[in-house]
Symmetry: D2
Subunit: 448 residues, 4 copies
């Protein structure tokens, strides 16, 4: 009896994640994500067909599943970022199987399915809490294990099979101090390690020691940093803006908590702010103070900006556009395309990294140049990563002790750095560390 | 009546600081530092003559003072780092004037004078607390203002003269949360600004926005980072080492506080650890817990390392050598030249930056390579800077509102970045921002 | 009697050059350039008023000339790049003085004046050959000295006055091996040095030793490089494209000479190709072989591309767009917006640097990604700079031996690197090296 | 029947190359190199035992050959660099098989064997010219194919077997214009491709597009560059030094040719200059002019330096030490440890890259700093690589059309970049591109 891991997408870059695990004649799919790097300005995803999107490299090429001789019995999403769930409305309907995810992730998936214009997606959606298991078949049980990332209710998935446990661990960090997410369930991870993990499919995004931390800092470090940066502008009679990643609910919570007792009204502005924050608030994950408000509709945003332009000392504007994307709010403010104008001495805090590709760098450069020209004081990069660092991954390997490892979710040269880490821990490429390309499969024989 | 600022050293690079301020016929000297970058391995500074050291660029060239027509009435040291006080024993005896510094700085100066082998330095040493003033002559009063840096009792000096106030502000950051240093005295700085600052001589070390933070983070951020990094190794049955900058007493305090309730004995090892920490402890600045000890003599260090080699889970070794300097303790441990051997799984935390010159990079590379080969887990760069960032400097200018500015303590290309900042605040190079080279002077006419 | 150098534009960045030299009551203006970095996509320069362009930082702010008490008797342009001549149609008409330039530069200026829509520019245009002098007044004689750059007929200007010689040397390299430009007139430069140069205004663009060559390579080095790169594709049955800087006539000549005996027709495509190359050809500077053609009008370009698409092995397309500017030809080809499609195995040679700003990097990245996706083989950066390197500048100083130096045409931090070079040669900032900001003036007393 | 490629050394970094190819029961070994990166200052290689050197990672770990069931019938060295031949005296005697190499490489190997102090190496040495074949057994014929690199007589090896051809191509570039080496034998490479290449083992050193050229430039490009740089100093009355890589005979030839007609005597100084150049001269590869001399013994070098110190305008000193290695000649001159002192205006040309590791960077930095302090004018990095660029490798694949590819001679992350190139050409990792780690083997079935 064998287990097969099929790399569908996300094994040759960052984005477009999709993996199938076949246990005898049954198949579980993990993630259906999009590759944001391949989307150009004029792509109207909502109206496009899967095959076009596959050709453009925007969604994973799941056509190889036709040749996989097995029945899909579940589609599992481990967290709610678009590179993991963004293709659900384009691909899920092809499989007669339920969608399974934690409640917050499930709610985000429902939203995507609702806004889809091309396909009708009717897969049932099962909400599964971390710590709980679900029996997918006689042979396979799924468990979602609590972990932390840069979005709430992120999980590591474990498939319990007769051949051993398969762990799917994409997108996580070890953070014991988030307010909106409890700490990772280290005990459970260690106990899986004792039971016997046959194979680990694991992210390898932050492996570049020169550019990342050996161990990724907690969000509470950003909290201190933001407290330091926000202290002065909160009390000054000037404008104050923060841009951050809308799905980073912990960061949103932090900003709100710091500004809670100020004399400013906190406005979270924009559609994606509303999507992630509104949902998180309705599920009781995000706890906004009474001086905070989420505004979604263009009209109400414009009215608010108009008021804020006159009485700028009374508002803290939290806007989208941390990468300088021309259509997002902060870049539009910088360009003078909204009722709110930057004035000398206004503070702009960018609580996000520059995602290091030349286009983002150009957009950020243009935005910051314009903001500075208007007299803004800019505090960039008040941020920590949501991905485990090199030494965190070593700790993870020590907990899980997998027989086999498949690093994923990055370019080959970055995956190679994970291979070297694994080799430091006694593994060996080709023997028990495996590099898969999209479309390739690795077969394991359980309990050898 | 005029005031003249004479750039003696430290205006063309980082190190070797010395400035004279002449008010009519009286002169105050600020700092007598060494330039560590020009010291090669075989330099025996203690036995060398000033003129040789001047020729090698190790100490400031104060021979130009012969041509300054005025009487030196005070030598002021604003904090205790070697690039500010290291040349005191080579230069101070030439001037018939007292040395003035805060108690901790004064104690460090006394140590240097004691170890000098070439010159007899007999200048009286006056200890002056921050917040206090001392009347140096009928026309000049010196005040030391509380500020924070990466060493205790750092100060900004203000000379009160009939022509206005001269502020000497080299080496500071704004940190409101240090345990061993109270926050900067912002109120006093603002009130100086109201009284009228004629000229500001100011450090310009962290002006490179691409490489530094817009606002330098507090030491309490490092505390959180170190808590995160130290948590696991503190309880593991493995060796644990930290290297940091001996004079960074706040950092030493942080490390001790975090490890205080662990089962490990905290050993601060080495001569320079003893110099800075021992002195800080005796002055009540540093408060070490009962499980901490400072060891200075090679013999006792060796004995301790021997014991620690056997029972490594019982010790936290805090060692010198953060830049990989071959003769310091951690590099010697890495090289197998001490009784303590690194074993697989031991943790090494480097709580210091790589000072970015090729020699340090090579030394650090060699040290880290050897540590890794022995199986150490390395956490580098758990550190924040001790120097103000670009936006902090802007805040500083808003407080002081100086008529004239002289940026100092860096290379011309870095000083230029300060000039650009000052120009953003309404100043103009050549009119009221002045670039001095070593040996040049700038004359100001007070209250124009 | 005094000479005054007035920095109007180009002293705080790269672009927008304009300098006035006042000798007693007469003024000579050097260059009227635009700052390409401040032009955004929607700027319609041809129709804009000077004051608007000044406000946007696109042309130099010459309003300060109102306060200069003297008569402008000549406007001198030392070569034909837009950052030196691009503002002529916006500014020259304000001065009742002739325009003076070498024939090629003069012809380019005439073109700009013709396409101007806002102002009527009627200054007489005098064409002056290098090696010749023109008496501008009783007191001032202008001489243009032959030098090399990346455009033909580049010059160094010398003003002969009773107070000494003023040399204006912006944009040059020392290249003894160009086909379209004779070598620099070193003898004349040395003889000026012997006569006595009062002040040198000099470019400081390539001073960063880490990023540039100590001595800038000759164009004949690029010729060898291009020969190597073009050899294979010239004979293959595939498409072949080169993009380069239209005004770099030497490079155009090199490309044509290499492809001359191939079986391909060489097509230089686009309006700016026609402007610079057509003019150079008509003046006998550029000598194109019989298998080369310059196409300007969109219609003929499209027809040619259409033919080339079918019989790609028969053409060498030389296109604009080396920085990936979206509206230029090569990026449009990459985007599939022309009748010519890139096919697998086609070769694209980029004979230009990436001008290092984030926007160019993004545009180049997007273009190269698309080209690669279509299967193109890309050879980037077959290029050498047109600006003197650090050691070349040292040689220049040794020739001219100026009493005073004003480095220009870069950011303050780069100008600082020139200051350090000058100081190595015995000069000193503030004494005989002067840093001017736009709007500032430096007064010299001749023959002190 | 199968062919097996066994990766012994050089598959996890740059250096220590050794590969075995097993065809049925017969084995051919390629290269026995050292890893210079693992040698520390106090290593006395000549006196050390193989097992110690293996443990320190200095020579390949060939102990795994004990388990290889086959008879070694030949040891082939494809060129004479130490990372390919440096371990011959430590490993070859273990195998009862002849050494085969081109004459120059063979002569270098003989020298190494002669200086060995620990082992007696008595393998017969067969000199094989490129273009010739040697029948190693009934089943295996070896052919050495002419190629270019940065040392003369570099080759690509082809093993003709019944299963197909195995090509071993480590360390080459395509350079059609070297004086001391004829162009690569492209025709033969293409004809191998037609016959059928089963597997290609290929270097992957220059794969990093951001840091290397798409196509590596010819040595004739360096010739032009050196001509440009040497022109001025050759005729000045100043000192003139060049440092380059001793084994780069083409470069040596170039330098000699440029200085041939000058009034300077060209002195090649040092033991390694003598080793490589002396040998090349005696074999008729290097053709030194009458004003050139190679000096080897310390005494004669000192005498020459003494004379050159007095009459510096009469000599061109070509010295070792391009990486600033403290014991090499140029760094010793910089340190004032020889009879020759650098004086202001002397020129130093460094015709070598900085091999990018922190130790070299530090050594170079120290050397250059000292040279500059003495007044030297430094021209660094007049160099082109000896390794094929990314597009050159693509051309190579098009010639050979191998069924399988094993990239080698670099770190995993760099090998990955080769994998991506191969995948662009239709190969696929795991199917016909294979990543081996030291100690692993890949089995091929010929003519499947």
């Amino acid at each position: 009896m064998t287990v097969e891991v099929i790399a569908i997408g996300g094994y040759e870059g960052v984005g477009g994640n999709m993996t199938a695990v076949k246990v005898e004649d049954e198949v579980i799919i993990f993630d259906m994500g999009i590759d944001l790097g391949n989307i150009s300005e004029d792509t109207d995803i909502d109206r496009m067909h899967s095959l076009d999107l596959i050709e453009k490299g925007i969604i994973p090429d799941d056509t190889l599943m036709r040749e996989v001789d097995g029945k899909v019995i579940g589609i599992v999403f481990t967290h709610g970022h678009l590179d993991h769930i963004g293709a659900v409305a384009k691909l899920a309907h092809r499989y007669n199987a339920p969608i399974i995810a934690t409640p917050y992730t499930a709610a985000l998936i429902e939203r995507i399915i609702k806004s889809e214009r091309k396909f009708k997606v009717e897969n049932p959606i099962h909400s599964l809490k971390t710590g709980n298991k679900i029996k997918l078949s006689d042979k396979i049980t799924l468990e979602l294990i609590r972990v932390t990332h840069s979005i709430p209710q992120a999980t590591i998935a474990a498939l319990h099979t007769h051949e051993g446990i398969i762990v799917y661990a994409k997108d996580f960090k070890f953070d014991d101090y988030q307010k909106t997410s409890p700490p990772p369930d280290y005990d459970r991870l260690k106990s899986l390690g004792k039971q016997g993990v046959l194979a680990l499919i694991v992210e390898a995004i932050n492996m570049d020691v020169d550019k990342s931390k050996a161990s990724t800092y907690s969000e509470r470090v950003v909290k201190l940093i933001l407290e330091g940066l926000m202290k002065r502008p909160l009390v000054e009679k000037k404008g104050m803006l923060i841009t951050t990643i809308s799905s980073n609910i912990e960061r949103i919570q932090t900003i709100a908590d710091i500004a809670k007792d100020s004399n400013r009204e906190i406005l979270f502005l924009g559609r994606s702010m509303e999507r992630y924050c509104g949902l998180a608030e309705s599920l009781g994950i995000l706890d906004l103070p009474s001086n905070a408000k989420i505004l979604r509709r263009p009209k109400e945003i414009n009215e608010a900006l108009n008021k804020a332009d006159d009485r700028r000392e009374k508002y803290l504007l939290v806007a989208t556009g941390h990468q300088g994307e021309p259509d997002a709010l902060l870049p539009r403010i910088a360009n003078g395309k909204t009722p709110f104008s930057i004035r000398p001495g206004d503070t702009v805090i960018i609580s996000a990294p520059i995602i290091p590709n030349p286009i983002n760098k150009a957009n950020r450069h243009i935005m910051e140049k314009k903001l500075r020209k208007s007299g803004a004081r800019i505090y960039p990069d008040a941020h920590v990563s949501g991905h485990a660092g090199r030494e965190d991954h070593r700790d993870f390997l020590k907990m899980l002790k997998p027989q086999h490892i498949i690093p994923a979710h990055s370019y080959l040269s970055m995956l190679s750095l994970y291979v070297e880490l694994a080799e430091e821990e006694g593994y060996r490429l080709g023997r028990n560390v495996h590099l898969l390309r999209n479309g390739q499969a690795q077969v394991f024989n359980g309990y050898e």
